[in-house]
């Protein structure tokens, strides 16, 4: 029974998404309870899956009973299970938030809205578990299509940005598919475990090297790596406020996770030193993104755009960890990935609440929060601490391990990049706090706005999550380290 858990995790959102338009044809008010029940069931299953994987080792699920190199295989190891728990918990918090705090589409579009969210979750589950290159492509497309449709739901200019995102994401996916075809032509297999055995003999093949570069460029567009990030700030800042926490927390991370998996589990960079050139490219681009992203965040005036650019610099930080080529680096990067998902969700939940409860749109109006929104300000303080990296929070431990791994690899430039990006993050957060606490009172009415109960639940859980990630960092990193042993690192 327990070995079916990964497939079950995919089936819950997928089947609910398919049945939703039929069930809720007459009764639209059923959509939200159905979606909530699905994500809660997913969360419980994900936790059970994690416990099972930690107790009795990884689950390799062969679909239809066809064994690995021929059939389609899903791998639920420690890493995938940890990420899956994070995804389903964040999704359930975001669903509580959407519709109660930020309004979701009215009328018949409610059905589409919840269907798309569940499809997005199904795609993310597939990307996390997929054990072969082609499956990753298909599920990334599922994620991209549902994300584009969700962004477009805001109407108006969001339509244009959703279209731009869709075109770029599809071209990115096509580059990725081209890389996959190079790999297939050179090795004759798509399964990652099988690939890891065949690639080492083919490292001087131009097809393998070209394929890796094409894959990196394609996934780079999807993960919004710095020079390829053009679609992200517009798309996320114009997306409906009810889904932007979900999108910013999860969509780009899925491609990043897929890239780390291909590098270490598929190609097996740890096994061979000849291929470390590609790692140099990975951490180099990551360092650029970390510094330039934080710098661009400093120049923005819209609250959601500041957070979007901040997210770009965090993608860079994770890539620095991935590119160090040692076990600590990989585990640290994956830990920071989970962390960053929680932080981004918190930031966008707070931003959405500020927009809808207090009517704050730009940066200059942030002063309205002062003295009127203790919950929001408390959450902002905790998340800022985590983004800068102040001890009891998860962000500190993530950065700590990334720096540790860079030092172990003797890579002082990467350490400098992490430091500079941290300083720039500190700078844009200080700029934000000055507006909240020091600037002129913009508003004249100082009455307290009633905080909906749902918002308190979301903000409370997310901040507790950030601190829990910090306090439990030791255990989580140990699980991730265990998941990355045996890669020849």
């Amino acid at each position: 029974m327990t070995r079916h858990l990964p497939a079950l995790l995919f089936c819950i959102p997928m089947l609910t998404a398919i049945s939703m338009p039929m069930v809720s044809l007459k009764r639209r008010e059923w959509c939200r309870p159905m979606a909530l029940a699905a994500v809660w069931a997913m969360s419980v299953t994900a936790v059970v899956n994690l416990v099972v994987v930690l107790r009795s080792g990884e689950i390799r699920y062969a679909f239809g009973g066809w064994a690995a190199p021929v059939g389609i295989e899903w791998v639920a190891d420690g890493l995938a299970s940890v990420v899956m728990v994070a995804i389903s918990l964040i999704a359930s918090i975001c669903l509580i938030y959407s519709g109660r705090v930020a309004p979701h589409p009215a009328g018949s579009r409610v059905v589409l809205y919840y269907t798309l969210i569940l499809l997005l979750l199904a795609g993310l589950t597939g990307t996390v578990f997929a054990g072969d290159l082609f499956n990753v492509f298909v599920f990334l497309e599922v994620v991209a299509l549902s994300a584009a449709a969700l962004i477009g739901m805001a109407g108006g200019k969001a339509l244009v940005f959703a279209f731009r995102y869709l075109i770029l994401a599809s071209i990115g996916a096509t580059f990725y598919l081209l890389g996959v075809s190079y790999f297939y032509a050179a090795t004759g297999t798509l399964n990652m475990a099988d690939l890891a055995q065949r690639v080492p003999g083919l490292l001087d093949s131009k097809a393998v090297i070209g394929g890796m570069v094409f894959m990196f460029v394609g996934l780079g567009i999807k993960m919004a790596l710095m020079p390829l990030h053009g679609w992200l700030p517009d798309a996320y800042s114009s997306a409906p406020d009810s889904v932007s926490p979900l999108l910013s927390a999860l969509v780009t991370k899925a491609s990043l996770l897929a890239w780390a998996r291909i590098l270490y589990w598929g190609v097996g960079v740890g096994a061979d030193l000849e291929i470390t050139q590609i790692l140099r490219l990975v951490w180099g681009m990551g360092a650029l993104a970390a510094v330039i992203g934080a710098f661009l965040a400093l120049t923005q005036r819209d609250v959601k755009r500041i957070f979007a650019y901040g997210g770009l610099s965090h993608i860079g930080l994770i890539l620095i960890g991935v590119g160090q080529g040692n076990q600590t680096g990989l585990a640290a990067a994956m830990f920071y990935l989970v962390n960053d998902a929680v932080m981004q969700a918190t930031l966008f939940v707070v931003a959405g609440a500020a927009i809808h409860q207090y009517g704050i749109q730009t940066f200059d109006e942030l002063g309205r929060l002062r003295g009127r929104a203790p919950w929001l300000i408390g959450a902002l303080i905790i998340v800022s601490m985590s983004m800068i990296g102040i001890p009891p929070t998860g962000g500190f431990f993530g950065k700590w391990y990334i720096i540790l791994s860079s030092l172990r690899a003797g890579n002082y430039l990467a350490v400098a990049a992490v430091m500079i990006s941290t300083l720039l993050t500190l700078a844009y957060l200080i700029r934000l706090w000055v507006r909240v606490f020091v600037g002129d009172h913009v508003s004249v009415n100082t009455e307290r706005v009633e905080m909906p109960f749902a918002l308190r639940v979301c903000v409370g859980t997310l901040t507790v999550g950030i601190i829990a990630l910090g306090l439990g960092s030791d255990r989580i990193v140990r699980v991730l380290l265990q998941a990355t042993t045996g890669l020849g690192l």
């Binding site: 082609f134 584009a148 959703a162 869709l166 096509t174 598919l177």
Partner: protein, 125 residues
């Protein structure tokens, strides 16, 4: 250099792939009309699918169905079915992408009454 050109000319299918790929990318980048951008994207996707099919061609091989159940299986006589199955999936993904993007284009056209990107961006402000 001559050797390289000669080797390349022996594989006209790869040349066709490169031409289609770069052409599609060029259209998607340079044209301002949203539908033309879509056509460019479609060309890029199709070229990669074409590439996948074309390198898996096997001469003097037939469909992977056993001709007789008693003879020994000669793997050389059968084509590999996997690339074709992958391409079918790829085509489905492509159709889905095209459908969603056309829906977005129609929504944009209804809203802004134009398909020209510059015109639309001007109206955004």
């Amino acid at each position: 250099m001559f050797e390289f050109i000669k080797a390349t000319l022996q594989r006209p299918n790869y040349i066709a792939f490169v031409v289609l790929f770069v052409w599609g990318l060029y259209i998607a980048i340079t044209h301002h009309n949203l539908v033309k951008k879509l056509i460019g994207m479609y060309l890029v996707q199709t070229s990669v699918l074409f590439f996948f099919v074309t390198f898996s061609v096997k001469t003097e091989a037939t469909v992977p169905i056993l001709l007789s159940s008693t003879d020994k299986v000669q793997a050389r006589g059968y084509a590999n079915p996997l690339p074709h199955a992958l391409i079918l999936t790829g085509i489905v993904v492509q159709v889905a992408t095209l459908g969603v993007s056309l829906a977005l284009v129609t929504a944009i056209y209804k809203k802004y009454d134009s398909l020209d990107e510059d015109e639309i961006l001007k109206r955004l402000e």
